[in-house]
Symmetry: C2
Subunit: 195 residues, 2 copies
C-alpha cells in the first residue's frame, strides 16, 4: 500500500469538502472535528494541528470559495451596460453568485460568528464594505457621465445593494433574477436616481 496517504493541498481540499458536506448535513452548530476527520478519511490530530478551532477552518473555506467566484475583484468585473438599471442588475447578479457559491449555511455561520462578537470577521467585513462602496461610486459615476440624474447619498446608503442580497440569502436562501429585478426597480433606482 503506497501513496495512500494524502498530504498538503490535496489533504486540505478533502477536509474542506468534508466540512462543507457536513455543514449542509448537520449544520455548523453541530459540526465536530471528529466527524470531519472521519468524513475526510484522516485523523483528528491533523485538524487540530492546522486549525485552532472550527471558525478558523470555516473562514479558510469562505476565503477559498469567494476567491474562486470573484476571481478578480468585484470592481474589475462590473460592466457598463449603458444604463444604471442594467449595471445594477449585473452587479447584483454577480454578487449573488458569490453567495450562491459559498452557500447559505456557511454564510449564516459567518453571520453567527459576527453576532457572537468574533472580531476577525468585522475586519474582513469592513474591508469588503469599503470595496463595495467603491464599486457603487464607479457605477454611479458612469451613470452620471451618461447624463442620468443621480442623487447624492452617503456611504451607508451605497452599501444597500449588497445588504439586500446578503439579507435575502440569510433569510430566504433563494434569490432569483426576478427578485433581483424587483430590488433594482422598486428600491435601488428610486434611491439612487432622481425621476
Amino acid at each position: 500500500m503506497k501513496n495512500t496517504r494524502k498530504r498538503g493541498e490535496t489533504l486540505v481540499e478533502s477536509i474542506h469538502d468534508a466540512a462543507v458536506k457536513l455543514i449542509r448535513e448537520v449544520g455548523y452548530a453541530n459540526l465536530t472535528f471528529q466527524q470531519i476527520a472521519k468524513a475526510a478519511k484522516t485523523s483528528r490530530s491533523v485538524l487540530y494541528r492546522r486549525w485552532a478551532n472550527m471558525f478558523d477552518l470555516l473562514m479558510e473555506i469562505v476565503d477559498d470559495r469567494s476567491s474562486n467566484v470573484l476571481g478578480g475583484q468585484l470592481i474589475d468585473r462590473i460592466e457598463d451596460t449603458g444604463t444604471l438599471r442594467g449595471d445594477l442588475l449585473h452587479l447584483l447578479t454577480l454578487y449573488q453568485s458569490t453567495y450562491a457559491e459559498i452557500g447559505p449555511e456557511i454564510l449564516s455561520a459567518v453571520l453567527f460568528e459576527i453576532g457572537q462578537g468574533n472580531n476577525k470577521v468585522p475586519e474582513a467585513e469592513v474591508d469588503a464594505a469599503a470595496k463595495n462602496i467603491l464599486v457603487m461610486r464607479k457605477l454611479l459615476k458612469n451613470a452620471k457621465s451618461r447624463g442620468e440624474k443621480i442623487r447624492r447619498v452617503g456611504d451607508i446608503t451605497l452599501t444597500l445593494p449588497f445588504n439586500l442580497i446578503r439579507m435575502e440569502n440569510l433569510m430566504y436562501k433563494k434569490v432569483d433574477s426576478k427578485r433581483i429585478a424587483l430590488f433594482v426597480d422598486e428600491i435601488l433606482i428610486p434611491v439612487f436616481t432622481m425621476q
Copy 2:
C-alpha cells in the same frame, strides 16, 4: 433554612436572567445548561425538565422580551405624526427599541438558528413579516390620504424598513437616531414617495 428554594415564575425568571447574562458573556454558541444552572443557582435537572434544548429556552426568552417591549402589537402603537417622514421615523425608532431590548447577541442567535434551517423560527418570522407589511400599508394609506404622493410597491419592498433595522442590529450592534434618520431620508422616502 426555609423559603430558599425558588419555584415557578420566580425560578424561570432567574434562569432567563442567567441565560441572557451568559449569552452576553460567552455567546450562544458556547452556552451550556450546566453553566446556566450554576449561574441561576439551580440544578441541571430543572432545566432539562422544562426545555428540551437550548433553542427552546432561547425562543422563550425572545418571546418574553419582545412582548415586554411591543406590549401591544406594533400596529396599535404607530402614530400619525402628520408626515410620512415623521411616521417612518417613529416606526423605526419603535422597532429599533425592540431589538435594543432583546439584545444583539440574542438576535444573532435566532438568526443563526434560521440559517441552520430551524423551522420553528421561519413560522414566527412569516407571521411577523405579515404584520409588518400591514403596518406599512397603514402608514402609506395615511400618507396618501394626506395628499402625499405614494409609489405603488410590492410586499417585499414593504418589509424594507424592518429589514434595514434588522441588518443594522445584526452587523453593527448600535443603531442611533442619526442612522435611523439617514435610512428614512436617503432610502425610505425615495422608495415610497414620488418627488
